[in-house]
Amino acid sequence: MSKRIDAVDLNVYYGNFRAVEGVNINIEPRSVTAFIGPSGCGKTTFLRTINRMHEVLPGARAEGRLLLDGEDIYDPGVDPVTVRTMVGMVFQRPNPFPTMSIRDNILAGYKLNGTRMSKSTADGIVEKSLRGANLWNEVKDRLDKPGSGLSGGQQQRLCIARSIAVEPDVILMDEPCSALDPISTLAIEDLINELKDNYTVVIVTHNMQQAARVADKTAFFNIAGTGKPGKLIEYDDTSVIFNNPSNKQTEDYVSGRFG
């Protein structure tokens, strides 16, 4: 459980367009790392390269190395499917499977692995994951109802529960709170704080207060202009990034003078 992530000279392309250039970053296990930066700066693109989800888009590819506890996930022998079972992801908009019940949503990952399990084991996993996502008390009486009947915040916590159910090493979150109200946002942020005891959490956010609240370390991405690739500008402890950044661009961004 919980692996470190190292990117070495990682470039991401969409067709011939270089979207992200030369990222070098070391993310510690059992920590929360936030990616901040203006829209289009490549932070989501980079996040998606950590579980090879960017490959879903036609023409997208990555060059360079991305190491998960020293193993390169872009090694030719590595199946992206295996990577994704180890690196879970939570998306910007809650996306529980509408055709499944809450319970089946949680167990979806196990169903994929073809794991056969007794009903009591399955019940245990459902309860543990939902408790882990602080959702158990709200849904324990309607586990057989569709997940799409929940509120937005509940749906997002269901998605988090779904990704932690399979006990990944890393959890990626792509602006997980941008579609949620402040109360739900708070619930998710509390949850992120608890998740870092067991997982490496990487979160993309547009909300700098959120980054300051939840992240141990923060990475600032920026883009020189339209059509130029995004770059990692500065990566440091969150307090340093927000209080004493070494780069002028970072300082301008976190103090609201730009972007």
Partner: protein, 322 residues
């Protein structure tokens, strides 16, 4: 003209009219009329069928004869036709559905665009071929090609009643008709399924992939459940066409009495081809018999559609529409 007159006036009260109600009334009137027309047409057809078929359904009360012409009772006459129609259609559905869903899935989720587009066009082209051409093709090409297959089926699977009896030498059997029907309904099911598969929300597909699903598992987990209702509907549309198909079956099948064997010629018949073959020379009681057979087909189609609706609505809660 004052400045205030050119500005759009802000409404301060809920009372009064915004204008545009006339358009709304016209539209709702048109929609209502269209709905009523459809019901009226359906009702007229049903009434016509019922009235014209009464002499055959109940000869003692509605005609001067005691029995119908073709058999002792109407049911004796019509059940082999109904069975033949259903069997041919079921063969067609069983053969066409897996192929159609597979092609649709290939076009929507597997093929590169440079292949998917031409394949899609070819499939749509197949739908544009008139059924009489399919019938001619089935009669001249397919029937002959099927003969050795029937011989093989009879030799090795002859213990199953479906492949028993003396195998045909012409190939003009109910099974050949079913295969021709399958080819005919293939494009319908394929294009509908393709459209529906493409509608699967990207977010759901990505949710499955991000859990570590392979492409096939992603399809099973998100695309099929999402498309479930659509697949059933497309199969029902295909079935509707197969049940009512006249020309292709009439050309291919050499009709006869009912038999469980699907590989004998001069056996079985379907309602549409029975009507097409006999209606021009029929009058009086014979005509009533044929129209009553048509009524049975109408009822079968209605029942099939109701079952389809029921299947679709059983999982409404999980359809993703809420």
């Amino acid at each position: 003209m004052t400045d205030t007159a050119t500005e759009p006036s802000r409404r301060t009260s809920l009372k009064g009219s915004r204008g545009g109600e006339a358009g709304d009334r016209v539209f709702s009137g048109l929609a209502l009329t269209a709905g009523i027309v459809i019901l009226l047409v359906l009702a007229f057809v049903a009434v016509f069928l019922l009235i014209e078929s009464l002499p055959a359904l109940w000869p003692e009360a509605f005609s001067d004869q005691d029995t119908i012409e073709s058999a002792d009772t109407f049911w004796q006459y019509v059940w082999p036709l109904m069975a033949g129609t259903l069997i041919a259609s079921i063969i067609a559905i069983l053969l066409a559905t897996p192929v159609a869903v597979g092609i649709a899935l290939y076009i929507s989720h597997y093929a590169p665009r440079s292949i998917a587009t031409p394949v899609g066009y070819v499939i749509d082209l197949l739908a544009a071929i008139p059924s009489v051409v399919f019938g001619a093709w089935g009669m001249t090409v397919l029937a002959g090609a099927m003969v050795p297959i029937y011989a093989w089926l009879n030799e090795y699977l002859g213990w199953i009643p479906l492949f028993g009896g003396t195998p045909t030498t012409t190939g003009r059997t109910l099974l050949t008709s079913g295969v021709v029907l399958a080819v005919m309904i293939l494009p319908i099911i394929t294009s509908l399924c393709r459209e529906i598969f493409l509608q699967t929300p990207k977010l759901h597909e990505e949710a499955a992939l991000a859990l570590g699903a392979t492409r096939w598992e992603m399809v099973k987990m998100t695309v099929f459940p999402f498309a479930r209702a659509g697949i059933v509907s497309s199969i029902m549309l295909g079935l509707g066409r197969a049940l009512g198909e006249t020309m292709a079956v009439t050309l291919v099948l050499s009709p006869g009495i009912f038999s469980w064997s699907l590989i004998q010629s001069g056996r079985n018949a379907t309602i549409p081809s029975e009507i097409a073959l006999n209606f021009p020379e029929a009058f009086g009681m014979r005509q009533s018999e044929l129209i009553a057979a048509g009524l049975m087909l109408f009822i079968i189609t209605l029942a099939v559609n109701m079952v389809a609706r029921w299947i679709v609505s059983r999982h409404k809660e999980f359809s993703g529409a809420n």
